[in-house]
Subunit: 260 residues, 2 copies
Amino acid sequence: MIFEDIHRIVILGTGNVATHLSLALKSANLDILQVYGHNLANTKVLANNIGTPYTNEIISIDPSADLYIVCISDDALDEFVSRFHLKNAFIVHTSGTASIKIFKEDYQNYGAFYPLQTFSKEKRIRFDNVPLCIETNNNINQELLLSLARKLTTNIQITTHEQRTTLHVAAVFASNFTNHFYSIANEILSDKQLSFDLLKPLIRETAEKVQSISPDEAQTGPAKRNDLKTRSKHIEKLTDFSEYQKIYNYLSNQIQKKYN
Amino acid sequence: MIFEDIHRIVILGTGNVATHLSLALKSANLDILQVYGHNLANTKVLANNIGTPYTNEIISIDPSADLYIVCISDDALDEFVSRFHLKNAFIVHTSGTASIKIFKEDYQNYGAFYPLQTFSKEKRIRFDNVPLCIETNNNINQELLLSLARKLTTNIQITTHEQRTTLHVAAVFASNFTNHFYSIANEILSDKQLSFDLLKPLIRETAEKVQSISPDEAQTGPAKRNDLKTRSKHIEKLTDFSEYQKIYNYLSNQIQKKYN
């Protein structure tokens, strides 16, 4: 049996995932027929960025694509799916958490195409080692998505919904919350007119260490060393940031308990 | 006025900072006369690693060095300083938090020489962009430490005690706590037999993003997007990890409030 490869794609959404996935698809010489977004200005920006037609009306979405990739936040996903009218389409979402069952009633060909990465519009990214997590409603569609994924990355995972959601939760800790801590660190430094630049080598090395040794081996700092003197000086230092004092104590206790 | 440069150094301590600072000093062709540690086995390991004599007896510490670098945790620092008998020495500690006043009563020449980086013995590091924070009791000693620091790194900061401690607290958030979150992510994945390898590109990119854009611009994820549906699915997913549920809610609320 020979499958027709996916070539012609419509991107639904204009956020960070839509932007970076579009750029990666374009770099892989795939044909992005059209970009759809409900906000016309944002849609124009992305369409111009990748040089494709665009629309902000669902009814005007090109019906001839091989694949429709929905890059819309989970809160808006169900409503969009119910309004989307091309029920014969092959449709996938890019969510880390939503089930592919949201497509089950109305579609024959569907799946999930979840890139496990953090995307910001302002920062270009190499897509070729981004883990792409794939789930489909049948094997034929799995082969089609695998073949598409191979054009984008060397890191492809066939995952169940359960596994994908677990990866997504873990990613919130490993990325969203760590970035929030960069932001807290930035705030603590700014308050004393110190530059965030001073932390950049540390931040890079902290991420680099766990590429080759485990996070448990990589742990350092006063809590790990059970250095109570330093901890109490730090708490003093955070007097103006009571919320951060709480986090400091909570996490330090957790680390101390774990390693001592 | 001409200052004699620092060449001959004794390292006091055998932990992560002692190890990596010794390696950096050796690479810069400085003369490490001796390593001292109270634990003989650890001291031997480091001394063999860098090819220097060693001792585990304070009284046998070589009195002829230009500089003594104390790489000892803050909890043990005061006691060590009071026991160290070479009161004519030029002595510095490497602490992010301790004051240089701990040397004031007994010494004429002292300071702090604090590398703002995370060091693990198992992971080699490039030292040449590590920020070195310097504080001294006078300008002559400052010049001496500056001259030494220039042999190790291009990133030198003259900092007050206040600034150094602020940097250290910020570093705990930017490094120790983020690494702890890598470890939590690892635990969440292991529980479902998923590999931590899948998060490595994400972790690297999260750290890479803030090298060129601010943490606030870099923030992504369900809390930032105000995606309550995803948040509640994640909380469900963390049923077996009640402590992590608490952290998830606390930080998500903080992020949500900040960006929405």
